[in-house]
Symmetry: C2
Subunit: 277 residues, 2 copies
């Protein structure tokens, strides 16, 4: 299928649910000529409260499904799965390029605030593994990193209550104690370390003010994907229209309703293919 | 193992996670001499956003595990699993008595407000199936029933934010629109149709005031369990101390932390046995 520096195969994008659609949206904006296959493991979401062993097992099963579709690159568009499973998946799938969202997010935050004090908002599993802290300190030894588990923000984004009094109250409840204890060395950067959280950028911005940088992984991950395809001469020739396939392991109706918010377009249940892992 | 009208075997209690511990607590209070085995399917929670087909499959696997422990009665202490899977499980496990939480909850609400206007707060899956509405109308043809999906309350209870400004704001966001559209025939009864929601009784009570009855399934389910054991002469002889076994399919640390809140006692990770379904 590879001919003269082009590759017509699709990019595979894997997430625990619909949150990774924020990453898909950025990839599609940057690479409109690329075929995309998205798989959301909605039957077993959320990953963020599960143990590392379960997350690794679920990720392996989901990725095996995508690999059967003969993809040319895999994006692990879930922070928890990236934190837990990226290295083993890269080993097991080599030479397939596998790109996670933690390192791109860390890189973007360090670029925005060199030597900064970063606060990572993420799921319980991502925080427990300290994945962002390690990634940031490997890029910027002078950086300071705090990580905060914010499970309720996942449900808040899925409910679609992304602005208003409830969103403001929940964001405040999480952030106020951190800001209160931090008068000596103020936080200069917030990292949205879960693909659900870009939907909550407005209440977070309202709470922390304009001086704090707010970074998510979606845009930088899309840039890393483009670079990886260019370096390996794997871009499509773009001679024909690109397809987008959305697959989920459960609940097409809910995927369409909630996923439409994340993708920024209207989705119908028949747009989603249900697959059994 | 059955002798002279007693049965030393344990009661099996199954839930998707830790919420069913509110039911276990009531059963233990009422039947302190009974052995209890609790299984929380934490590897696949929450059930409330999953499709009926997935919920039925998960419930069957979890229940098979409990049946291998030679139980004398099974409690499906999860509203979603009760709504989706109770009838098939009763068929498949007969003659083992299988008790769900939807009918006991409906019975308690009807007893509290005969001819009343009930508002059921539940998960998306329970609401979609209309299980409480059917159960209530089968008991009280004059009752009126509305059902409201409140996914965010599950995450709120798990985060432990059961009182305070955030809990009040979320409860108000769900209930205000219902109360606003309901001036012609005021709601007289609220049913907590998810085992997580008894933890949020205080903010719900604060919002609706004292005139509205608030019912959960836990206490009535425990009464139904006691009656079923008495009728079948299956109570323990109570000559020796009763055991409590807590099992989960993932995350002993999180189960202990969150489950302790639900059980009203301190739990440690080593109190939980991890099982693989």
């Amino acid at each position: 299928m590879i001919s003269s520096g082009h590759d017509e195969r699709a990019i595979g994008i894997f997430d625990s649910g619909v949150g990774g659609l924020t990453v898909l949206r950025e990839i599609r904006a940057r690479l409109p000529g690329e075929h995309l296959i998205y798989l959301g493991d909605t039957a077993r979401l959320p990953y963020g409260t599960k143990s590392p062993a379960s997350v690794l097992q679920y990720a392996r099963q989901a990725v095996s499904h995508l690999v059967l579709s003969d993809i040319k690159l895999l994006v692990v568009a879930c922070n928890t799965a990236s934190a837990v499973a990226l290295a083993p998946l890269q080993d097991e799938l080599a030479p397939l390029p596998v790109i996670g969202v933690v390192h791109p997010g860390a890189r973007a935050a360090v670029a925005a605030r060199p030597g900064g004090h970063h606060l990572v908002l993420a799921t319980e599993a991502t925080v427990r593994l300290g994945a962002y802290g390690k990634a940031i300190r490997s890029l910027d030894a002078s950086a300071q990193v705090d990580e905060l588990s914010c499970e309720l923000l996942v449900a808040l984004a899925e409910e679609g209550w992304t602005t208003g009094g409830v969103a403001d109250a929940i964001v405040g409840e999480y952030l106020q104690p951190v800001l209160d204890t931090d008068d000596s060395d103020k936080i200069s950067s917030i990292i949205l370390g879960c693909t659900h959280f870009p939907l909550l950028r407005t209440p977070i911005r309202n709470f922390v003010g304009d001086a704090v940088s707010i970074t998510d992984s979606a845009s930088t991950t899309a840039a890393v994907v483009e670079q990886a395809l260019r370096n390996r001469k794997l871009l499509r020739s773009e001679s024909s229209a690109a397809f987008l396939q959305l697959r989920a392991t459960d609940g097409a109706r809910r995927f369409a309703r909630v996923g439409g918010t994340f993708l920024g377009t209207d989705l119908q249940p028949h747009d989603i293919d249900l697959v059994d892992l």
